[in-house]
Subunit: 343 residues, 2 copies
Amino acid sequence: MTVNKKIIFNDVTLRDGMHAIKHQYSKEQIAELTKVLNDAGVDIIEATHGDGLGGSSLQYGRSKETEETIITTAVQNAKNTKVGVLLIPGIGTIDHLKRAHNWGAQVVRVATHSTEADVSEQHIKAGLDLGMDTVGFLMMSHRVKPERLLEEAKKMESYGAQTIYVVDSAGAMVMDEIRARVSLFKENLSTKVGFHAHNNMSLGVANSIAAIEEGADRIDASLAGMGAGAGNASLEQLIAVMNKMGIESNVDLFKVMDAAEFVMKPMMPRPVQIDRLTLSLGYTGVYSSFLYFAERAGKEYDVDPRDILTRLAEMGAVGGQEDWIIGVAQEIAKEKKQTVGIN
Amino acid sequence: MTVNKKIIFNDVTLRDGMHAIKHQYSKEQIAELTKVLNDAGVDIIEATHGDGLGGSSLQYGRSKETEETIITTAVQNAKNTKVGVLLIPGIGTIDHLKRAHNWGAQVVRVATHSTEADVSEQHIKAGLDLGMDTVGFLMMSHRVKPERLLEEAKKMESYGAQTIYVVDSAGAMVMDEIRARVSLFKENLSTKVGFHAHNNMSLGVANSIAAIEEGADRIDASLAGMGAGAGNASLEQLIAVMNKMGIESNVDLFKVMDAAEFVMKPMMPRPVQIDRLTLSLGYTGVYSSFLYFAERAGKEYDVDPRDILTRLAEMGAVGGQEDWIIGVAQEIAKEKKQTVGIN
């Protein structure tokens, strides 16, 4: 397939990547990453707590720096690049958004679960009122059929969203599933369409290419794939593939390759990679930010984190039920004990 | 696309994976890996030096165990699974093949550069004479156009090869390039068709799926992607994706996930991953077994290994020119010195 437009890159190294560093980027690190991303030509740099505005909390993990420091540091160092923020209604508020806008954020992505777009109305309208580039972000898009997802996208479109994303939060979809959703959006929405990948089944780059071939306008990626769980599509790998295919963007391949290797990787507490656990996350389709909680609870209650994830998926867990995890771990531990007792 | 046949898996953990451990698997490790692969249901376990029969040498790196130990250990522990060997004419001979067959190997893959199939004639005929499952393996398939590759495959077919592989030795192809080659083979050959991926641009799994969708019968993969350079398609990731898509094989997902995590990973001297260097290998399209040589020469002569790889690609390097690398490193070092002198 020939792709004749320039793809816009929304970098998430400083937002989804926050998950992989437990929200502990320092001000200096934020400044350095923003500089290299700006210099490499990404179009938007999203910089917020991993769970968006207001995310720094006991429940979601406190960030090292304040929201103000994160955003203003990014804004100060993004000379040619817009800074964006993520806003999950219920975690972040319109007040948070107004402050972020005052600090210089120009893009807002209002994120809801794939069946709950109606909670985004006020926030999308607030973004538009502030004159921001306003995006709807449908998390866990694999949980519903394409037609159902389109219904939710239509709501976001009616609220005024200018771009609407298919979001593969758990890295749970294969190429055809991405194609089905993106092509349906392109045919039926007047908005721009975006795609956000996770790499749990090692399809982050391939799924992004599939989305682009179906007409996606904006793509998310991060240096070295820095992101929750198995990480996002790696910016440098995706640009390499796009260059090979002749698909244009504003991003310089060698600059992002160097930035990933020499700036990002030395900051990473552990490599973002696909392992038994993150592959299980993708395969079962639960939310990738559950990973650390499942690992922690698994250790505490001597339970296999895979069992926790599988149970969560059976229970229909989506984003935001981190508080279920302890209960599930306790339940499985209790079952194990009973089994041991019986034997 | 619907895939209605069962895919045959040729595991390369104990052959291409040899590169990633510098051919140093111990007898005990070979036994353990064979057992878990056999138990997980792979169809063929390839076990040889990374460069095939006769590969253990100063030039290609000596293996820890003898060829006899590698093959007999695999054969003894592969209760339900055939053991295969790789044979690169020029490195291995028909005598090597006869010995391997005596030790119990039942599959031979005769590998040549993508333009040199004619050197495979005697070896393919020898494999058939021995009653072996005999395969032609066209390395560096990205170096020639699909139609040209088909000409070489036709030669292998005329020698009697029962399966012919498209081999993406450097992880240098994108999905459409795989599709073009595999579909052309399927349309024009009476043989079975195979595909061997490398993951340099993170497309190992996606390219294997593309090959399967175009009708490939056999697919290579390895535990945790263990293989030269950025590694092969990861067996556990590929099976996860195939299960999601309803594509059948004899391989058990949870068994290979566990084997990758608990058996393979503890043996790995370093994680097989995509980094600046391996991504450069894929992007420039040089042979991934050059990696260690380029790193070593780069260190010795204070030259960026990427510069060595780029130069090798410009020179048209294919497999087997490891001896060029030192010369190239010296040349670049000399150029650097002159540049410094001029400035």
